[in-house]
Symmetry: C2
Subunit: 222 residues, 2 copies
């Protein structure tokens, strides 16, 4: 059984074109494309009210912000909101990101049905994903396929990103400690923060915190 009504949320028009072609080739009859998360949500709600809901959502993770003010600014926010009203909607993430931690979180937290990395064979992978989940299988493209087996002590997690983000915002380690304490982020002691930063420095072969943040920026982590 192939999907007959699919919603695509992707801000870039070129990629949208490619996705559209792929879905047409897969035999999808109704393909609706939007360039903003808010539009995706509205279209979804409308279809639901008209008793003709979407069967599948394909969405990017990050959307460039522009003059149009948006409620939902990321694919994650969109999914989180949709999941409340449509627990069984099939969802494919189609993103440039390939961080295993993020993928794992999306699968476990938000029950996405597929995660496809954009790349040289992005559309091929996307086709595979559509097939797989029409058969109720979870699909992860090769770059992230082992996101779920947790043999990954080398992975940087959400906490690390938080830490680096606060550093890049100019907070001292002491201030970060206070900030974490206030927001119930653990561990929050100055000592733990020092330790974690030391781990990250070793991991990224950074000489000091400045170097570390610079590397993280280059890698697109921040």
């Amino acid at each position: 059984m192939m999907f007959s009504k699919v919603l695509v949320a992707e801000d870039m028009d070129d990629i949208n074109k490619g996705i559209y072609n792929t879905l047409v080739n897969l035999g999808v009859a109704n393909i609706h494309q939007v360039q903003y998360c808010d539009d995706a949500y509205l279209k979804f709600k409308k279809a639901l009210l008209e008793q003709d809901p979407y069967e599948l959502l394909i969405t990017d993770m990050s959307f460039k912000s522009d003059h149009r003010k948006q409620q939902l600014t990321t694919g994650e926010e969109l999914i989180k909101k949709l999941r409340v009203e449509a627990p069984h909607l099939k969802v494919i993430i189609y993103s440039i990101e390939d961080r295993l931690q993020k993928v794992r979180m999306l699968v476990n937290q938000h029950q996405i049905n597929a995660y496809v990395c954009k790349g040289r064979r992005g559309l091929v992978e996307l086709s595979k994903a559509v097939y797989a989940i029409s058969d109720n299988q979870l699909y992860l493209s090769p770059e992230v396929k082992n996101a779920l087996n947790p043999n990954n002590d080398l992975e940087i997690d959400e906490y690390d990103i938080q830490l680096l983000t606060q550093l890049a915002l100019g907070l001292s380690q002491d201030e970060i400690s206070n900030h974490f304490t206030k927001h119930n982020i653990s561990p929050s002691s100055l000592s733990s923060i020092e330790k974690r930063l030391n781990k990250l420095r070793i991991q990224f072969k950074a000489n000091n915190a400045i170097h570390l943040v610079a590397i993280a920026k280059d890698l697109g982590l921040l």
Copy 2:
């Protein structure tokens, strides 16, 4: 006069599809697409030898690395190499990057003919760019259109960039002092470096050196 033979270097298949459609709609007869810079160079050479050279190159800036080992890994390297053999080849950069400093460098250093930012209207902008440079005009898409008027570089000079660069590379202020002394860059004393960094911190409203480097990275200065 529209182009009749165009080479496209872009690693992602979805975007390639979009570009292809756009060029077809523009009436381009011969469109050749490659997913690696090395392939682009080979195709270019071959066409040159066969006395049927490309009239236009459209290329991305960054290419994901995979199992295939490549000589040329970025669009910039590709252009640099091509410019030696084809000073008059028209070049459009089609990239997600929107750093003015980078765009300025590409225009001045490598004589690119257009810089188009990928985005919601990426393909529309790409069409405009093709039209513009077929009329021998330089085209910069809106996000980067004021990359060339230098009212933006708020009195930060080459020395500041050097300083921030070394900082981002992980050198301590002491090490930077030694480095500057060795390379006859003045001023080179630790005290002067502290002072200059302090000036930059104030200028960019940064709390500390980490914050400063993060801001400079965001602005595309590094």
